[in-house]
């Protein structure tokens, strides 16, 4: 509640400042706006920026560095007792102390932890007061400075527009910061994992069973750990399901696109395109539920009637449903490229006596091939990264096989199961999920980049 009141109150104050600045600007020219360089509204914004921006910058900066400063202070306060804690556990100790302040104890609580929590609490209170007071001081002095500067000759518009431009640039920077954040966090956690498990054992190992990983308080990488974190079975499972999905999606999606662009009547197009858009818009958890509840048992029972043993979590069921989910994706991307082939090529082919299918097979598709290949690569990237369908319909045990009737597991399933359990954050198990996530990110990024390059390099320029 307090947060809401504070936010609303601040907005009200800023609105008041806007009107005050505006009024002052008008007052300096006695109501005649033609004497002002910028319209009065800009003077209002000028005042608001001078009052609010320094305080906001202070709050943001303090929010980012407060953790480090407080940690250093607490370490200093506890002195020798803190230095006695081994390096690897200091992070956990500080986290436990912080959580004690918040109320719920997380991790080991000793007297030292309580001392640390007290130090945290007092420091947080003191610095909180100091920072708030300083922010208020900045706001008031900024207000005063802006107030005195309001004059007819003040270039308020330039100032406001330059500030807004920097804010726009900062907004664009958020996207970069997000990517940097993803890469850094994945790499950071993965490096912690590779400190415990050899990178090549992870990448080329043949046995994946993290549930039997050896955990110890002192985090020594043991040979046992190197044996259970071999990711090849997981990669093989992912490839198997992706292959089945693309085997379903590529022909159906491509033929749908061809039919819709070259054969279908307007009525058919008006009916089929929304259907494909609806298929694209259905959440993947619904697909997963359908796969687990209807498709997998259907394959199981029909397999039994043919005498085959089909697992109830077969790769075939998950792959097929995933393929159907990707059909609209392939179809819409292929549709775009096929429509981009100019009509003159089709006309020329028809003029030579080719049937429509021959035109498509021999003229249009080769011309659109780079785009179609790139669409398929994007579809593969989508299939590899898909989570919910496989979590609900595919298995959990790593099984290295290419038999689609058996249960396999994929990278995304492993990430979910390793991170939604109740294990500690720093254990080798949870860190392996980050290593898998890093692999996933790199592979999908590579596929997207290659898809883009394929389009750029091989795209035909038609006049």
């Amino acid at each position: 509640m307090q947060g809401w009141l504070f936010a609303l109150g601040s907005l009200a104050v800023l609105a008041g400042l806007f009107f005050a600045g505006r009024a002052r600007a008008l007052a300096t020219v006695g109501g005649n706006t033609s004497g002002l360089h910028s319209t009065p509204g800009y003077h209002g914004f000028y005042l608001v920026i001078w009052a609010a921006l320094p305080a906001v910058v202070l709050f943001v900066t303090w929010g980012l560095i407060s953790r480090f400063v407080t940690d250093a202070y607490v370490a200093g306060q506890l002195g020798d007792a803190f230095a006695a804690i081994p390096e690897a556990q200091r992070g956990a100790f500080l986290r436990a102390a912080r959580s004690l302040v918040a109320g719920a104890a997380f991790g080991e609580v000793t007297d030292l932890t309580r001392q640390g929590a007290d130090a945290y609490r007092t420091f947080a209170e003191v610095t909180g007061t100091i920072v708030n007071a300083f922010a208020l001081l900045l706001a008031v002095s900024g207000l005063g400075w802006g107030w005195t500067r309001i004059a007819p000759r003040l270039r308020a518009r330039q100032f406001v527009e330059r500030t807004v431009m920097w804010l726009l640039i900062a907004a664009s920077g958020v996207a970069i910061i997000t990517t940097i954040g993803i890469v850094l966090s994945l790499i950071f956690e993965s490096l912690q994992f590779f400190a415990r498990v050899n990178f090549f054992d992870f990448l080329f190992g043949l046995h994946w069973s993290p549930q039997s990983a050896y955990e110890s308080i002192t985090w020594e990488a043991t040979d046992r750990n190197s044996e259970v974190f071999g990711a090849i079975p997981v990669f093989v499972g992912t490839l198997l399901i992706t292959t089945i999905a693309i085997a379903v999606a590529a022909p159906v999606g491509l033929m749908s696109a061809i039919y819709l662009s070259d054969y279908a009547s307007k009525a058919t197009r008006a009916f089929a395109k929304p259907i494909l858009e609806i298929l694209a818009g259905i959440p993947t958890v619904v697909y997963g539920f359908f796969a687990a509840l209807t498709v997998a048992p259907f394959f199981r029972s029909s397999g039994e009637s043919f005498g085959l043993t089909v697992s109830s979590e077969s790769a075939l069921a998950a792959g097929m449903v995933m393929g159907i989910m990707i059909i609209p994706f392939v179809s819409s991307l292929s549709d775009d490229v096929i429509n981009a082939v100019p009509q003159s090529l089709r006309d020329g082919s028809a003029g030579l006596g080719a049937t429509k299918s021959e035109t498509i097979r021999k003229v249009v598709l080769p011309a659109a091939l780079p785009g179609i290949v790139s669409a398929l690569m994007l579809a593969i990237s989508r299939a590899i990264g898909e989570t919910m369908i496989v979590v609900m319909a595919a298995g959990l045990a790593a099984n290295m096989t290419i038999n689609p009737l058996e249960a396999v597991t994929t990278v995304t399933v492993q990430i979910v199961t390793l991170l939604t359990g109740d294990s500690e954050f720093d254990s080798a198990k949870t860190l392996s999920a980050f290593a898998l996530g890093l692999m996933l990110f790199c592979v999908t990024l590579l596929l997207n980049v290659i898809a883009l390059r394929v389009i750029q390099k091989y795209r035909e320029q038609y006049d």
């Binding site: 431009m165 990517t179 956690e189 209807t294 989570t387 609900m392 939604t420 980050f434």
Partner: protein, 608 residues
Amino acid sequence: MTEIAADPMPQSAIHTSESARARLAARYRTERVFRFLGQAAIGVSVAFLALLLTTVVIQGVPAFTYNFASLDFDLSSERLGGPDEISKADFDGIVRDAIRGEFPQVTGRTPRRLLGGLISSGAPVLLRERLVGDPSLVGSSGRVSVPVSDFADLYLKGQITGSEYRDFTSPIVLEASGDGSTYTVTADQAVFGDVLELVKQRLLADAAALRQRAEGQARSQARIQSDIVGFESRLSAAEDAAESAGLTARLEQARANLDSVTAEIARLEADAADREARAGSAVSGEPMTDEDPSLLIYAADGVIRATHITATTVEGEAMLPVADPGSLVGNGWRLRILDVPESNRKFSDQEIVWTDTLVDRGEVASAFNWIFFSKGASREPEMAGVWGAVVGSTLTLVVTLALSFPLGVAAAIYLQEFAPKNRITTLIEVNINNLAAVPSIVFGLLGLAVFLNFFEFDRSAPYVGGMVLGLMTLPTIIIASRVSLGAVPPSIREAALGIGASRLQTVVHHVLPLALPGILTGTIIGMARALGETAPLLMIGMVAFIVDIPGSFSDPATVLPVQIFMWADFPEAAFQHRTSAAIIVLLGFLIVMNALAVIMRWRFERRW
């Protein structure tokens, strides 16, 4: 001249000869097949969508109604205490007494517990909530509606078993046994013949299963025999005493095994033969086990469940007391066969009879399932609702919108209108395109590592979920906004610049309002995508079991797709219905949002 006339246009043979016509027909056939394949491809998508939607709707619609029992509860103030003590009163006891009051003849601990199981275990909770919320109800008479148990509800919706009814007017005689616990029904015609047939068929099936087991045992018998032969030959070739002693011991063991297996086979075959004999005999009676379809006889206000049957008589126990045994002439009676045997269902015959009685008394009726739309998660299927997830989704989406819309539009404005065409701008654009294609689970990992681990925000809180989804939706909004801004023709910008506007004024006052419909369409579509996202929220912990409806942005919450994911794991049949109903709710929201986007695009977007 003659040479030319003697050679009549040789090229035409390429087009008119037999082989030419065959080639042409083949090409047309290929064309037809190709066209058909295109139609089939579209048909696959349409068929799958139809299958998915019908499955979900058929499974989910039953969950929108629920059966409620209106019972007479003792809400007197002696039972409940004063206004401050209401919440501590024994509501379990009140509910128990109410249902026992419906069937006062039920005695004994186990039958009474079975009777109590007809009403949902959440009924005392609901009753408490009602009375605490409205203390004026204390001492009032009249009935209160409470939900029945999940299996009773499934039965009333026909999901537990089907029934076949047969009405008769021919007389039967009802005789009670000495202690009144069993009854014998005697008819003068072979009215129970078909049911007897069903029992005999079940006997034959049992016999077949026994014979299969006997075959399996015969195989292991053969194996043991070959082992024995092997041991004997090795024994005869043994050289020292130790080896022959060991082999002798194992030989003894194998012989003992052989004996027991042979005995087992004999037993199995005897059982099978016995069952086949009983099935084959024409007139003998059979006991009815719980693996047979249940036979109930409704006569003289009572219900008798058959435990032994011949073609003309039935012996059974009373599910409901018979008014007075005696001959029935001119009084109809009815026979009911329950298709699913009692051992295959979770709702017994006695419970079925009680439930039907309550329905006949008018005390159980189907009504709109308000519990589903107003409660949060629960272990009991009948008390589980989606409202908690809906509120959680709303809170999360508000944060997502508040984060991604301003940032996305601002970034798009900068990149489209102001950014110079240099390497940094290209880098940002490539970056945004790549972010749009990153799998959503990676954003979940980002949220886990940065928001939960580094910043130590609250787990399972909507504001953290909103931030993760906001970062995920940001590239989509940026791309859609850039497209809309780019679609505004340069003439608008040039006109504004021409009358003296600055570049920022041009964009904010002239270009942005014209691009706004497209931007809003893209935003709504982005929000619809975020509503359906599950994987990133699983990573940041919004998968907890949330019973209370979240009240603020930092209360633990869950979202609708995650709730569907969690319920899909529960095995009870009632939860399957609720999962499908939750999917219907989710699809309903998505339809509304997408329809809004389509309407907006249709009405407001201008084609330049």
